[in-house]
Amino acid sequence: MKADIVVDAKGLSCPMPIVRAKKAMDGLQRGQIMELETTDKGALNDFQAWARQNHHELLKAEEDNGVIRFLVKKG
């Protein structure tokens, strides 16, 4: 699955990962996909809640070595 936009939010703490995510999403069409990487541990619950609230689909959230990678489809 290829992302239409990739956002590197590593090293940024809350609220910045979601601030960046929102900006990136604003530039996408419905159905397009954003990939975002963050090192903020609190991001997981926040991303789920944010996607739910904005009707985006959280396709994937995986952690590897302290980096969480999200794939979100714009709704």
Binding site: S13, C14, P15, I18, K22, G42, D46, A49, W50, Q53
Partner: protein, 374 residues
Amino acid sequence: MAATAINAKELHQKMEQGVVILDVRNPDDYQEWKIEGEHLTSLNIPYFTFLDDNEAVFDPLPQSEEIVVICAKGRSAQMVANILDEKGYNVSYLEKGMREWSQFYHPVTVVSEEQFTIIQVNRLAKGCLSYLVISEGQALVVDPNRHVDEYLRLAEQENASIAHVIDTHLHADHISGGSELAEKTGATYYIASSEMQDSSLRYEPLEQHKNLQYGAVQLQVIAIPTPGHTPGSVSVLVNDKYLLSGDTVFVGGLGRPDLGGKAREWAQSLYDTVFKTIAPLSDEVLVLPAHYADIKEINEGGCVSARLGEIRKRNEIMRTENREQFTELVADTAGATPPNYEEIVQINRGIVHVSPDKATELEFGPNRCAIHHG
């Protein structure tokens, strides 16, 4: 103009007066663990809602009242507080968020007799209570939490030196300050040896010290074995009038017996504790527990306590004399376990060591050692 940052103590003062708390964490985290208080209104609007250009987000926020914005670590709250400040709200934010709130302690003098004073130290975020029993310049500290400076400062204010430190049991929900406080003050640290398998910490086996006397007065501190929450649980009886009950008897119920994975067996011990050990104590005895589960347990004077008689009267479980029924009741109502409790137990035995940051993280979250038995 930017919104003002406040610290936990300032927040607590505002809470006493009445304040609106706007918690901007996500709904799951908010439901799990939030700031509670009698005089506050609590709202939950996640911070990312404020990123949308939607004026409706401001509708629930009162223009005329003071608002304090809260998040996990402070940065998201700062962002939202600045947005509200721009809009003319009377707003501030908790500088380091729930992280800071979880480390805030509030002392209240609960007993003031001619010969001794008992101070209850309330760690509001966790519902943890610890105590200083001070007599003639000497202090006993019971169930101190991890931030030992709080107790050092209080003792200094009271012109007392800390001579004894007791943990009523091995704590599973928060990291104990017992051993560290004893080391820093030269006090003796007491805990039941059955709680300390494989421990490398220096402690006096509490079971060998049935009575403690200190100060020029005959302050009598009796350690009563009250197993049930853990096998080595004790309660501390001060001058036959005040029962520092640890996690055995609470204002609103009994301690949970399931954290050792032997719920039914420990529930049997709890039964014996309630109906044999504590039974002879007078209804007049004031119970001062190590925990509370609900802010309703904080009384008018800001203290968590109740006469044994009231607890017996209010609490069905304290009257359930049928051993089998009692066991069913306490063993089955425990609910979710405290976060990270297995690791916390190992730290409290001195087997595992963690950095202060890691400790803060482990203790993040609500307390779940008390069960409410209606």
